[in-house]
Subunit: 595 residues, 2 copies
Amino acid sequence: MPSYQAPLRDIAFVAHELLDLGSHYQQLAGCEALDPATFDAIVEEGAKFAAEQLAPLNAIGDQHGCRWQDGRVSTPPGFAAAFRQFAANGWLGLDKDPQYGGQGLPPSLGFVIHELLCSANHAFSQFPNLTGGATSTISEHADEALRQRFLPALIEGRWSGTMCLTEPHCGSDLGLLRTRAEPQADGSYRISGSKMFISAGEHDLTENIVHLVLARIDGAPAGVKGISLFVVPKIRVEADGSLGAANGVSCGSIEEKMGLHGNPTCVLNFDDACGYLLGEAHRGLNAMFTFINESRLAVAQQAQAHAETAFQGALAYARERLQMRATPRLRPELPADPIIGHADVRRMLLTQKAYAEGGRMLTYACAQQVDRLHHAVTPAARAAAARRLALLTPIAKGILSEAGNEAAQLGIQVFGGHGFIREWGMEQIARDVRITSIYEGTNTIQGLDLLTRKVFADGGEALAELLAEIEDFTRTAAAPAELVRPLLEQVNAWREVSAWLHERSGSDANLVGASAFDYLMLAGYTLLGYLWLRAACQAEQALANGSGEADFYQGKRETARFYLQRLLPRAALHRTLIESGSANLMSIADSAFAR
Amino acid sequence: MPSYQAPLRDIAFVAHELLDLGSHYQQLAGCEALDPATFDAIVEEGAKFAAEQLAPLNAIGDQHGCRWQDGRVSTPPGFAAAFRQFAANGWLGLDKDPQYGGQGLPPSLGFVIHELLCSANHAFSQFPNLTGGATSTISEHADEALRQRFLPALIEGRWSGTMCLTEPHCGSDLGLLRTRAEPQADGSYRISGSKMFISAGEHDLTENIVHLVLARIDGAPAGVKGISLFVVPKIRVEADGSLGAANGVSCGSIEEKMGLHGNPTCVLNFDDACGYLLGEAHRGLNAMFTFINESRLAVAQQAQAHAETAFQGALAYARERLQMRATPRLRPELPADPIIGHADVRRMLLTQKAYAEGGRMLTYACAQQVDRLHHAVTPAARAAAARRLALLTPIAKGILSEAGNEAAQLGIQVFGGHGFIREWGMEQIARDVRITSIYEGTNTIQGLDLLTRKVFADGGEALAELLAEIEDFTRTAAAPAELVRPLLEQVNAWREVSAWLHERSGSDANLVGASAFDYLMLAGYTLLGYLWLRAACQAEQALANGSGEADFYQGKRETARFYLQRLLPRAALHRTLIESGSANLMSIADSAFAR
C-alpha cells in the first residue's frame, strides 16, 4: 500500500514560483493579509491532516464501503470521526464568508487543501467538497433569511450538502427533469420526485443534510427554462436555524459501484418534502451552475490528485523492484537493476509526473481566476476572470480526468502483476478515478460546452485572449527552440481548427458533436504545454541562479521536455481527427451497427 | 447486465469470407474433412454452451470469487459443474492429438471456440485455456512415456494444467529464477521453491492438476540458459496414469485482485515435489515458449473478446437510452432521441466495433498460421508459418490488449453514470480485461520481443515479407483511394521507422527500450488497418453483387472507413514519438523524479 506524502515542494513551486500567489493576494480585496509563510503553514497543516487522518482510511473505505439499512446509511469506520475533526479544525470555513462563520481566505488556498484531501481519500473528500459547493451556491443565490438559516451550520460542518440533478431518465439532458415543486401559502414549496446518483445523499456524518434540488414548479415551461432550484433539508430547519421534524426525504438505496466505495451514491425520494426556492423561479439551472462549475473544477482536481498518488506509488515501486539490467547499470552489485533505469518504465513514470504536476499547475491557475472572480477589486477584472474561468473549466475537467485515468492505469502497469493485486493500492486508484470522466458532465458534454458555449458563443473572444497570452509568453520565453516551436505550432493549430470548425459547423449539424471530444483534448494538451513551458523557464532560471535544489529543477526541466516532445504531439493527432469530419461517424446506418 | 450473444455472423464473415478457412483446411494434412457447414455447426454448439452455461456464471464468479481455506481453493458456485460438462462435451480435445483422445481438428477452430468462452466468462476460460497450453507443451516436448502418462487425463478434463514461471523476485526477468530441481536416481527430480501469480494453480474442478514448472537443476548455469522445465503433478501419477499419493505441492494463498475473481491466482509452494524433466535439461525456457506463445495469443483473444462484450453492452444501451435530440431526429414522437444518434457516442461505439471485429480478423489470421505450423504439408510452409506467427504474436497481444482495455473503458463511458455501477456489467469487463496488458509478458516485454527478436534478429526478413504482402494487396485493392492511401503511407512509415531504429540502436543502447511500446502500437494499428481494408473490399464486393445483407456489409464498410480515418492516424503519432529519441526519457536523473 503506498503511503501518501503531500508534495509540498511542488505545491510551493506552483503557488509561489509559477503563479506568485503572494503578490496576487495583495491585489485582492480582503486577502491582502495572506503572506506566503502563512499560506505554507496552513497548507502544511492540511497536509498533516490528509496524510495522518484521511489516507489511512482510504483502503478501509474501499474495502468496507457504505451500508444501507432501512433508509439509513452508515459510512466506513473512521469516516464520521474524521469529518468531525475536519470540521472542528475549521477547514470547511476556510474560504467562506466571515459573516456566517467562515474565515474569508481566498478560494485558491481551499483548492490546495482540496488536492490534498483528494489524494489522501477521494471518497472522503466528497463530503466536504459537496458541502462547500452547497455553501457557495446558497451564499451566491439565496436571500438573507435563507443564508442565515442554512449557512452557519454548513460552514461549521454540523450539516452537509448535496447536489440533486440526475433522475433515472435524465442525466446529461436536464430538460427532461420531472421532479415537481408545488407552491405553498407560506412561500415554501412541496417537492416530490426521485433523484439518483446523489453523492453523500444520506450518511451518518452530520445531524442534517441540505439538498439542493432541481425541480419544476407546477405550470413551469418545458425544458431547461422551466427548472427551479430549491433548498430541501433532510430534517426541517426552523427560521432560527434549529432543527424541526423530519422532512419528506428518504434514501431508497445506494449503488454498488466500481470504486469510490467510501462515499454513498444514493437514490433519494422526495415526497412532499418542504423546500425553499433558491434564487429566481425558472432560473434554477443558472443558479445551480455555481455548484456545477465549482464541482467541475473539483473533479479536475480529484483526477489530478489521483495522478499524483499513482505517480508516488509507481515511483516508489520502480526504485525498489529489481528486474534486468539497465544502461547504464544502476546497481552492479545486485543481480538486476531497479526498473526505474529502463526507458519504457521511465516513459510511464514521466507521463504520470507530467500529468500530476501539469495538472497542479492547471488547477491552481484556475483557482487563481476563482480568487479574482470573487475578490478582484474592479468589475472589469472580475468579468475578465469569469470569462477565462468559463473557458478553462471544461478544458481542465476534460483533460485532467482523461490524464488521471491514464496515470492510474500506468500506475498499475509499472507494478506489473502486482498492479492487479488489491493490497498494492494501485487498482483502487484506477477504480476511484474512473468516475471523473463521467460525473459533473461526461467529457462529451465538456467538449460540447467548450465548443459551443465557451468558444463559439462569444465570437471566440475568450479563446483569442488566451491564445494571445500563450503566444506572448512563448515568443519571448527563455527556453530552447526545440521546446518553444512545437508549442507555437500547436497554438496556431488550435486557432486554425477553431475557425475551421466555426466556419463549417453551420452547414454540418453533426460536426460539433463529431469534434467535441477531440477538440477538448487538443485544447487540454496545448494548455498543459503552455504551463509546462512556463515551468521549464522558471526551472531554467533557478538553475542559472545556482539554486541549491538542482535535482528539483532538473526534474522539472526534463519533465517539461518530455511533455513537449512526447505528450503534446497528441494534440496534432486530435486535429487530424477533427479534420476527418463527421461523415465517418454519421454514415453508418443505426441498423448497421449490429450483426 | 448485458446478455452475451455470440457474433456468429461476424465469425462466419472472418472465417469464410475473409480467410476462406474451408479452402485453407483442404491444404492441411488431416484437416481436409472439415467443411464450412461442419465448422459452423461446431461453432454454434460452442456458442450455445458459452451463452447458456458460462455467461450466466460470469457475474457470479466476479461477486463470489474464489475462496482459500487450509490450502484448498473453492471456485464460484457453478464453475465445477460447468467445467465437467465442458469436458464431457469433448471441448478440451477439439484440436488435440487423436492418439491421446483428441479429435484432431485444426487449432483455428479451437481459437473460435476460445473467443466465445472468453466473451462469456474470461475467468472460467482460463481453466481450459491453461489445460490446453499444458497439453500442447507436453505433446510437443515430452517423451512418449510422459505423454502417455499425462495427456489422456488432460484431454479428458479429469486433470487441468498450469504454467509456473513467476517467483516473488522474478516476473519479466526469468534469469533470476531460483526454484531448484534435484536429480533422483530414478530419473525424476525433487522440485523445491515458491511460485506466484499461478492462474488456476489450485481449485476444485478436477481430481488432479498438472503444473509445468520452470526450475534450475543443481549446478546449472546462471541466467536463462540454466533453466529446465518439469511436469509436477499436484497428486503423484503412476506410470500407468493412475493417481498415487499427494505430491509436495501446496497452495499458500490466493490473491485479492482487481478483476478475474472467478479464477484463483495462487502462490504455490513446491517442497521436494516429484517432477519429470520435460524436454532437454537447461532448455526449459525454449520448451516453455510453446506454452507462452500459445498463451500470448490466448491473451490477445481474451482482450478482443472483452471488446466484443463491451461493444454489445454499449450498443444495446445506446439504442435504449434517450437523451437530447440527434440530427436527424430518430424518434420525434419521444421526448428525446436514443443516444446512438449522437456523433460522439457513435465515435465510441465505432471504436469498440472496429476493435472487436478487427481483433477477430487478427486473432483468426494468427490462428490460420497456427494451423499451418502444425498441419502444413511441406516443411517450408511450416517454417513460413512459424516465421509469420512469431512476428504476429507480440503485435496481436500488444495492440489487442490495449484495444480491449480502451473498448472496455468506452463501454463504461457510453453508459455514463450507469457504467460505474456494478449491476450493468460494464465495469466488470474493465476490471477483468485490465490484466491482459500485463500477464504473459507486459506490453513493454512484447515491444522488446517484437523489435529485437522478431524484427532485428532475422535482418528484417519476416517483416519485409509481411509488408510486401500488405503492399501487394493494397496496390490492387478495389477500395477508394481515400482509404488506400493512408494505409500505404503507414506501411511505408513502418518500414522506414524499422530501418531508422535498426541503424541508430547500435549507438544508442536505450533507443530500443524507448521505442518498444510505440513501435508495438505502430505495428498493431497498421496491421489492423490492413485487415480492415481487406474487410472493406470484401464488403464492397458483396454489396456490388447485390447481397441481401446490405446492413451487414454497409456496417462493415463504414467501420473500415472509421478505422482508417480515425484510428489508423494514431500510428503516425507513434512514429513521431519513436523519432523523438531516447534522450527525453533518459536525461532526467533518477534522483530528480521525486520532489
